[in-house]
């Protein structure tokens, strides 16, 4: 017999249906929203839907983590970055510079879905039961069971995640640091760079601080030329140019 949604009790079935629809709509929303901010909000919606499904399947702790960590921290980080980069404007997603790409993407997506569904036609879970320990029926809460498992069977992975967090910290420091534009800057230069304001001022700082030399000027011009690739608002451009002209005065 094929399993049927109606076979479930009404509250369970209803919860699944509503949360599932929320998760699906959220997922589609992420892909289809023109504005990245909307995408992020849709992602939260989807995550909430999934969190409900977690609760529905006796994973209460993870549902909480999902909401707190994912929706609360990760997506907020996304939103911060969107605001920081100032890319919160709508994107013309109706136009596609590579039409074949979109067509093939959707085609491949459908194919992949069909294949995964086909491959798991029979009852999905097949494996041995409770290999790592029972999740239910132990007489303990979900948090207890998870915590116990983490500190015994999964002790090593748990400890190893610390390395991951160290990496995240270093990565964030390295990447967020303002690039130094010349080899071996003096302390003063570095400090000036650290204190610098808008992005395009970099090019000027090279010239402005320290002794103006021909080599530095060339580098500054190169930096400006590079900056020219990504000219933003005209104000920024003007700012950059005025700073560069300084040593010539």
């Amino acid at each position: 017999m094929t399993p049927h949604l109606l076979a479930a009790t009404l509250p369970d079935g209803l919860t699944f249906a509503i949360a599932g629809v929320i998760a699906l709509v959220g997922s589609l929303g992420v892909v289809l929203s023109r504005n990245p901010v909307h995408s992020a909000l849709m992602l939260i919606m989807s995550l909430f839907g999934v969190a409900v499904l977690f609760v529905e399947q006796d994973a209460q702790f993870l549902a909480a983590v999902q909401v707190i960590v994912y929706a609360g921290a990760i997506v907020v980080l996304f939103l911060f970055v969107i605001m920081l980069l100032g890319v919160d404007r709508s994107e013309a997603i109706a136009t596609e510079p590579m039409p074949a790409q979109r067509l093939m993407a959707v085609g491949l997506g459908i194919l992949a879905l069909v294949e995964i569904a086909l491959l798991s036609r029979e009852r999905w879970p097949l494996g041995a039961h409770s290999v790592a320990g029972k999740a239910r029926g132990t007489g303990h809460s979900n948090v207890y069971v998870l915590g116990r498992s983490l500190f015994t069977t999964y002790l090593l992975p748990f400890e190893v995640t610390s390395a991951l967090l160290v990496i995240a910290v270093i990565g964030a420091i390295v990447l967020a640091r303002r690039p130094r534009t010349s080899a071996g800057p003096t302390e003063g230069e570095a400090a000036a760079a650290e204190a610098g304001g808008g992005p395009l001022v970099d090019a000027g700082e090279l010239v402005g601080s320290g002794a103006p030399s021909a080599e530095r000027r060339v580098e500054a011009e190169e930096a400006l030329a590079r900056a020219g690739d990504r000219i933003g608002e005209p104000v920024g451009e003007q700012e950059g140019l005025t700073v560069v002209r300084r040593p010539e005065q």
């Binding site: 599932g20 997922s27 992420v30 992020a40 499904l53 996304f78 093939m104 029972k134 999740a135 995640t161």
Partner: protein
Amino acid sequence: MSVPADFYLTLSAVMFTIGAVGLLVRRNVLVMFMCVELMLNAANLAFITFARELNDVGGQIAVFFVLVVAAAEVVVGLGIIVAIFRRRVGATADDVHVLKG
């Protein structure tokens, strides 16, 4: 009686595919990255469902680690994105294709 696993798993597969297709069709690199999060979520849903079905705590633990990894990945990924795009207008991945051939 609760909802059969098939429904959860089908939902998970659909979300996974939506995420994958989204990564392929969107040009905004932040949205592409959100699509990756969708895919990870789909995997998490599958883990939880299998865990329930097998009455095994291993699947839930796996979700825990996937969450940690996702967090670390997001920090570094957003760092890279900020490093590149803070001097550009927009965050369109298509604009970044100096390297090719």
